[in-house]
């Protein structure tokens, strides 16, 4: 397939693998955090780790939009659908995330709540047009990639005078989260994770550009390479990071130049800033409260803000005890360090968010990578 197969070519992968093996220093280990769930997914799905030397370690970061949504916000969405009787429109991979007492949107739907899986914000607008006597709420989640379409939906609803449409906004920001991983009060509790460099987000950067990472690379002296989601992108970016680390540089480089520019998509940025403003603080699953890390709908568009339109109850939201998602999302622990992994918690019965989305570290590890553990165990048993 044109423009896809070229980025999955085995011969190029083998050449890159040989280049990486040639350039890594045998006397050190390279800990590279892939921030995005898309990268985590690619690494596991294509077996990229198999092509890396032993001393190149990928650390899975918190860049899965489904995984970082705090339980309380999910509980609020369930409440909107169940108690306020709205039609709740949501992206597909939110459906199975467990909330308090394992209550997910898919369970609420089975119990009669009107929850509809959509593929774009335009679907939510269509549902609002077709159901003028019902309140329709779009459950907006995701990083900078999915924010502009939400802004478009809000603008469109205002233009059309769709009074029964509103947005429950949970959009979050990438750079704040990266900074928080490296320097926050929680680091003292959870320990620090060794990170020598970052594979920077690809689709997020197509919107915000590569510039926002410059301050961060300089401040924390960590190299960042904006990497595409195809497996060859991941390998090429890994090589670029290894070179930066070897040379003692900490710069922002752009491997994904076919899509990402330094300034990003200015039109999308302008649209987003017209509709949204920064929240002072927002809770992330796994990271806790992160200052200036999320967006809310501006007062000028308050009529379409579901948080203002509906009052949700104060509730005690709780994650499953012993679930290590918080530490896993920070890269401090691996999925296999969690007591629940593969026993109580599997993709069929997820206890934490990392096991739900195919971009979550636990799900990717379970689905694509656990045979390595099986092979290791077999080796150990034989020895």
């Amino acid at each position: 397939m044109k423009y896809v197969s070229e980025f999955r070519a085995r011969d190029l992968a083998e050449k890159l693998a040989a280049q990486i093996a040639h350039e890594v220093r045998p006397d050190r280990t390279y800990h590279l955090m892939e921030f995005c769930g898309g990268h985590t997914h690619a690494i596991f799905r294509y077996g990229v780790q198999d092509l890396m030397p032993e001393n190149v370690k990928f650390v899975h970061g918190p860049g899965c939009p489904v995984c970082v949504l705090p339980v309380r916000r999910l509980d609020d969405a369930v409440e909107l659908a169940e108690k306020h009787g709205v039609i709740l429109c949501t992206y597909g991979d939110m459906m199975r995330v467990p909330g308090t007492k394992q209550r997910s949107l898919i369970r609420a739907k089975a119990d009669g709540a009107d929850i509809r899986m959509i593929y774009s914000t335009l679907d939510a607008l269509k549902i609002a047009r077709e159901n003028p006597d019902r309140e329709v709420v779009f459950f907006a989640i995701g990083f900078e990639t999915t924010t502009p379409p939400t802004a478009v939906a809000i603008m469109q609803a205002e233009t059309e005078g769709l009074e029964n449409f509103s947005v429950f906004c949970n959009h979050v920001l990438t750079p704040a989260a990266i900074g928080h991983i490296l320097e926050s009060p929680e680091v003292r509790d959870l320990g620090t994770v060794k990170i020598d460099g970052f594979l920077g987000p690809s689709h997020v950067s197509s919107v915000i550009g590569s510039e926002p990472y410059e301050f961060f690379a300089e401040e924390f002296a960590k190299p960042v390479v904006i990497a595409g989601f195809e497996p060859l992108d991941v390998m090429q970016s890994t090589l670029m990071l290894i070179r930066q680390i070897n040379e003692g540089r900490a710069e922002v480089e752009n491997e994904y130049a076919r899509v990402v520019t330094r300034e990003g998509n200015l039109k999308a940025q302008s649209l987003v800033s017209d509709v949204f403003e920064l929240r002072q603080s927002f809770e992330w699953r796994g990271l806790g409260e992160v200052p200036y890390s999320a967006l809310r709908i501006r007062d000028t568009h308050a009529a379409l803000d579901a948080e203002k339109r509906f009052t949700v109850s104060e509730k005690k939201s709780r994650e499953v005890k012993s679930c290590e998602c918080p530490a896993i999302l920070r890269g401090v622990k691996k999925p296999t360090d969690c007591k629940l992994f593969g026993t109580v918690c599997t993709p069929d019965n997820p206890m934490g968010s990392c096991m739900v989305s195919s971009e979550g570290a636990c799900a990717a590890y379970w689905t694509y990578g656990r045979f390595r553990e099986t092979a290791k165990e077999a080796e150990e048993a034989a020895a």
């Binding site: 083998e14 990229v48 939009p65 991979d93 679907d123 269509k126 689905t367 694509y368 045979f371």
Partner: protein, 345 residues
């Protein structure tokens, strides 16, 4: 008005509760629609049960409910699919299908013209397959309690002497063969889903596979396992076999046939084609030394023209189905958790 002088208003009428009520309207519907299109000597007897002689040998029986949306899709509809699906379930025992039954659950208000289209399609599929629908049933549920049409079909078949096809016969060293491209049916259905419509030339691969199976059994009577990878796709089917027989599998991604359009649609939607449904494909496991002969037999049939050897059965107490990726790595091809949902970014 749905009835005119004892004739069903097929062009303009809708299903109503009288069509399931046991009275004249129901009798007229059965006569003017179901029997008219599906007629054969056994059905024409008009009894509540089909009466026929039993052949020599081992009988197999399979039943299947069909609840698809959309009801009409590129390359087929619920009528032809109900026939193909059940014939294939029977054929996957290595059997020759003999008879079908069809139970219809209709929703009040469903257009009779659409119902006739479905029944005609069913009749055409049964005729092409050479397997008659010998008995049936019709029920009507109130509006809002169904989804237009549900069809349950049951198939009966006979297994040739010397053929023993069963998932538990999968054993290390056997070859895994696939009869053609994957994901065609699932993508065809998705392309017409209300909130996801996209332009594609992909048609469902819905087809009756018993002719192909007959050729395969003739070439290699010792086939160990046959299975049609419907819901959950190739991945789910192979995992089921691996668990049943307590074996593992290793697949070669590069060997798995796929249409470029299907691949592109799956990329767009963030779906893994290995988990996408097929309705006219089969997986076969046989001894390694028989694999080339079986492949040749498959390729000699129109429904197996693109058949390929896609992997090997391995010894693995963990029952993992693994795959050598086209990229050079290895990954697990796991069970599907819930249903496959698109990724958001």
């Amino acid at each position: 008005m749905n009835a005119v002088d004892g004739k069903i208003a097929l062009r303009s009428g809708n299903v109503d509760m009288t069509h399931g009520g046991g009275g004249r309207a129901m009798a007229d519907l059965i006569r003017d629609l179901f029997r008219r299109h599906l007629h054969n000597p056994i059905l024409d007897q008009g009894n509540d049960a089909a009466l026929f002689s039993v052949p020599e040998g081992r009988l197999v029986m399979s039943t299947d409910g069909h609840v698809i949306s959309p009801i009409f899709f590129p390359g087929g509809d619920i009528g032809s699919l109900a026939v193909h699906g059940t014939l294939n379930d029977v054929a996957m025992s290595g059997a020759r299908p003999l008879y079908l039954t069809a139970g219809f659950i209709l929703e009040e208000g469903y257009p009779l013209a659409d119902l006739e289209r479905i029944v005609m399609s069913m009749a055409r599929a049964a005729k092409e397959a050479g397997v008659p629908v010998v008995t049936g049933d019709t029920k009507v549920v109130e509006k809002g309690k169904g989804d237009g049409v549900f069809i349950t079909t049951t198939g009966l078949g006979v297994v040739p002497e010397g053929v023993h096809v069963s998932a538990e016969r999968a054993a290390p060293g056997q070859a895994i063969l696939l009869s053609g491209t994957i994901g065609d049916h699932g993508v065809a259905i998705l392309s017409k889903r209300e909130n996801l419509e996209f332009e594609t030339e992909i048609l469902s691969d819905s087809a009756a596979l018993h002719g192909l199976v007959a050729e395969m059994v003739a070439a290699v009577p010792g086939i160990a396992v046959l299975r049609d990878p419907t819901r959950g796709g190739v991945a789910a089917t192979l995992n089921e076999i691996a668990r049943t027989a307590n074996v593992g599998m290793i697949l070669d991604e590069a060997a798995i046939p796929m249409k470029p359009d299907v691949s592109a649609a799956c990329e767009l939607l963030g779906l893994d084609p290995l988990y996408v449904a097929n309705e006219g494909k089969l997986l076969a496991l046989c001894a390694a030394e028989d694999a080339d002969r079986l492949l040749e037999a498959m390729r000699g049939h129109p429904l197996g023209a693109e058949a390929a050897i896609i992997g090997t059965v391995t010894e693995d107490p963990a029952n993992l189905v693994q795959m050598k990726t086209g990229f050079g790595g290895t990954r697990v091809v796991d069970w599907l958790a819930g249903e496959q949902l698109p990724r958001i970014c």
